[in-house]
């Protein structure tokens, strides 16, 4: 039980949002559907729940209706509590006229006294768009043991676009060089999960409140102070996935077809919770032929499906051949249709007797609710 740790999740802090085209036109990055039945935010929220973190603030910025519909009171993550629990922090709770914050520190400064009022001694900052199943107890213990000013979670299995990502390169004196946006990845990649003391964070937030050119955790806190602060990266060995483009969304989705990745991300010791909808089982008709695929509940499959990910309540008609596709919730594919390298967003309807396809490096993306 990490009762002395308060978590704050940033739901829009992504450099990649614009690369995802229609996937993020209707939702925030944290609300992007992933892994058959989840939204990206489910992973970080579940990490909190599994570590016994009982106070979680969710910083919302724009385009957050979809996310609110999903998290509701936080009940499905056991975060609807009489004391503490999930606290939604929408823009209107922030400083009037503040607009979209330019960085994490400014976003926190805009929340008025939120940080100052936190009861816990330690604070965890995390982005809501990383699919990761991490034991935060271990990160916290490492932070306490090292006495670091800041403990970032890092990985040597690169997930981001180097130009938009921060890397840590160990030096001989035990300190780290922090490299922002190199051409090629170096050292360990920052996963945008940080533990620090409340006092430390509050100091940065106060600085941001008084200096308009101080707003970024990376640019204004980490980079200028790399040699002055005690920064002790925590190396995460498991699977983490970050979506940086439509192509990477496709690649990261397909990685889930590897049983080892699936077992790592969904280890029964730390279940990933999501909104519960009580869907029925999936029905496989006598004509169906499905191999090497991830299929969620509530689907009705009457055709051929290979190397694909089906979200809930997808319908695949007779005579269809669906290969290398990601079909989100409520997608319907009419009879005798062939799909290859297609990502269909929620409620897309694909008519019978059609043929649609993209390429592995450039999958065809069909926007939410479209009829093709």
């Amino acid at each position: 039980m990490l009762t002395n740790l308060h978590a704050i999740i940033f739901t829009n802090r992504s450099n990649y949002e614009s690369n995802l085209n229609e996937l993020t036109a209707v939702r925030s990055m944290s609300s992007v559907p992933y892994g058959g039945r989840y939204r990206l935010i489910d992973f970080m929220l579940s990490n909190m729940t599994n570590a016994g973190i009982a106070d979680v603030g969710l910083v919302l910025q724009e385009n957050y209706q979809s996310l609110l519909d999903h998290v509701e009171s936080g009940k499905d993550w056991d975060l609807a509590r009489k004391r503490g629990g999930l606290r939604l922090l929408p823009p209107f709770s922030q400083k009037p006229g503040s607009g979209n914050p330019r960085g994490r520190v400014e976003a926190l400064a805009n929340l008025g006294s939120y940080v100052a009022d936190i009861k816990q001694e330690y604070i965890l900052l995390a982005d809501g768009d990383v699919a990761i199943n991490i034991d935060l107890h271990k990160v916290f213990d490492a932070h306490i043991a090292s006495g670091a000013d800041i403990t970032p979670v890092v990985t040597s299995k690169y997930t981001g676009e180097p130009q938009c990502t921060v890397y840590y390169v160990a030096k001989e004196d035990g300190q780290y060089d922090i490299v922002h946006g190199p051409d090629e990845p170096v050292g360990q990649e920052d996963l945008n999960i940080y533990i620090m003391s409340k006092d430390f964070l509050l100091k940065q937030v106060k600085e941001a409140a008084t200096h308009s050119n101080f707003y970024s955790m990376i640019k204004h806190v980490l980079l200028p102070n790399a040699s002055k602060l005690k920064i002790c990266p925590y190396v995460f060995e498991g699977y983490a996935s970050r979506i940086t483009s439509v192509a990477s969304y496709f690649k990261r989705s397909m990685e889930l077809l590897e049983p080892a990745v699936l077992a790592d991300l969904f280890t029964p010791e730390r279940p990933i919770f999501s909104k519960d909808r009580t869907d029925a089982s999936t029905y496989y008709s006598p004509e169906s032929r499905v191999t090497n695929s991830i299929v969620s509940d509530g689907c009705i499959i009457e055709g051929v499906v290979e190397n694909s990910i089906l979200f809930r309540n997808v319908k695949i008609g007779k005579g269809c051949v669906v290969k290398n596709c990601v079909l989100m919730k409520d997608v319907e594919v009419g009879e005798n249709t062939a799909l290859n390298y297609v990502i269909a967003d929620k409620s897309v309807s694909i008519s019978a007797n059609s043929t649609l396809g993209g390429a592995e490096s450039y999958p065809l993306l069909l926007g939410k609710g479209s009829k093709v």
């Binding site: 039945r37 279940p271 519960d276 008709s285 169906s288 299929v295």
Partner: protein, 402 residues
């Protein structure tokens, strides 16, 4: 606060004819149809019929059932006013009080619960029937005829009628006689164990019945005949949909096979009559390289690499490469290891079928006397073992269990 209707769900039955499946759990909590338990059917019927106050009468092995019901949240029955309440028998001052002596006594003991809501009508429902039923239709007949009781009935064959409680009715569908398992039935209207009562009337008969030391305190044996004898207006509600009492292994197996039909009366995909249940949040299922699936349900958390035909696979089940599952019901958490064969069988939760083992054998699908093998909760079948058709393997007793 006043409610028009309160539902009382009889869920204390042992289900002794389900043998290995009900050793440690009440019949209504037996898993069914991939994602459900038997009790989800009457509970979903209540919610879909607009009944938001439900008392669940528990007695036999209530732990798992009570854990499953929780605060009623999965059925939207966690309400500030009304909602779901689990009602166990209790004692009174001076060593009074008792186990529920019969179905009527179970309701009698909870008169106080019902009176809290001062209802006009009370539904008394069986917790172990598989059916999708709109109780509002029964209530409409009940109100229209200003009846004291309305009993839902199913039209059966005259031959089947000998095994049921039969309602003999006049031309206007009012009941003049009730016969339990008649040798020479006069009608083919079989009681489904689903009743609608005017509460003020039922309350009176329950109190009188309790005062009768010779009564079995049972609805069919005592309350219904007493009301008829007193000349109360009692109606039948003719139900035309799917209904099955899943009291035996074969009827439980049959009902599972019936729910597999996505177009059928029990269809789990009907958005107009959703089925609610408490489910663990598990990742989607993974269908691997060698899997072949034909006319079957697969649920979340499964990893399937075998051949599955005409079967219900509940959540978190593993079926290995080369394993065959045919005409079977597999409950949550079971593992069927590579090369094993399971035919005409019901595997309870967390069963392990060892590699190459063979459970059950081919049967005639429609044969009412077919032999379905049953493997109780947590039983591990050794690799290569042969388990004959119709076998009944009881759950392993672990330290601390009763």
């Amino acid at each position: 606060m006043k409610k028009e209707c309160v539902a009382m769900l009889l869920a204390g039955g042992q289900g002794s004819r389900l043998y290995a499946l009900t050793q440690n759990v009440a019949k209504p909590a037996v898993p069914f149809g991939g994602k459900y338990r038997i009790i989800d059917f009457p509970l979903s019927n209540c919610v879909n019929s607009g009944v938001d106050t439900v008392g669940v009468l528990t007695q036999y092995q209530p732990l798992e059932l009570n854990v499953y019901l929780g605060n009623g949240e999965p059925w939207d029955l966690d309400r500030a006013n009304g909602g779901l309440h689990s009602l166990a028998p209790y004692t009174l001052a001076g060593d009074a009080g008792s186990w529920y002596k019969g179905t009527a006594n179970a309701i009698y003991q909870n008169i106080g619960f019902i009176d809290q809501y001062d209802p006009e009508y009370v539904f008394v429902l069986s917790g172990d029937n598989i059916s999708k039923m709109d109780y509002r239709e029964m209530l409409a007949i009940h109100k229209e005829r200003n009846a004291a009781a309305t009993i839902s009935v199913l039209t059966v064959t005259m031959e089947e009628a000998k095994r049921f409680g039969i309602m003999n009715v006049r031309d206007d569908d009012s009941i003049y006689e009730f016969e339990e398992k008649p040798a020479h039935p006069k009608s083919n209207l079989a009681s489904m164990g689903v009743y609608c009562f005017t509460w003020s009337k039922l309350r009176k008969y329950l109190v009188e019945d309790e005062a009768d030391p010779n009564s079995s305190n049972d609805f069919g044996k005592n309350i219904i005949p007493n009301m008829l004898n007193a000349g109360e207006t009692m109606m039948v509600y003719r139900f035309n949909g799917y209904w099955k009492d899943v009291g035996t292994i074969n009827s439980l197996w049959d009902a599972n096979m019936d729910i597999l039909d996505p177009e059928g009366d029990l269809s789990v995909y009907d958005q107009k009559w959703p089925l609610w249940a408490r489910n663990p949040i598990r990742p989607p299922h993974l269908i691997q390289e060698h899997a072949s699936i034909n006319h079957s349900f697969i649920s979340s958390g499964c990893i399937i690499d075998g051949d599955i035909q005409n079967s219900i696979i509940s959540d978190s089940v593993e079926v290995g490469h080369g394993a065959i599952v045919r005409y079977s019901v597999v409950m949550p958490g079971a593992k069927i290891l590579p090369g094993a064969t399971v035919e005409y069988a019901i595997l309870a939760e967390d069963v392990v079928i060892g590699a190459g083992a063979h459970v059950g054998s081919d049967q005639v699908y429609d044969d009412p006397n077919k032999k379905v093998a049953v493997v109780g909760k947590g039983v591990e079948i050794a690799p290569g073992a042969e388990i004959e058709a119709g076998a009944m393997l009881y759950p392993e007793k672990k330290g601390g269990d009763k």
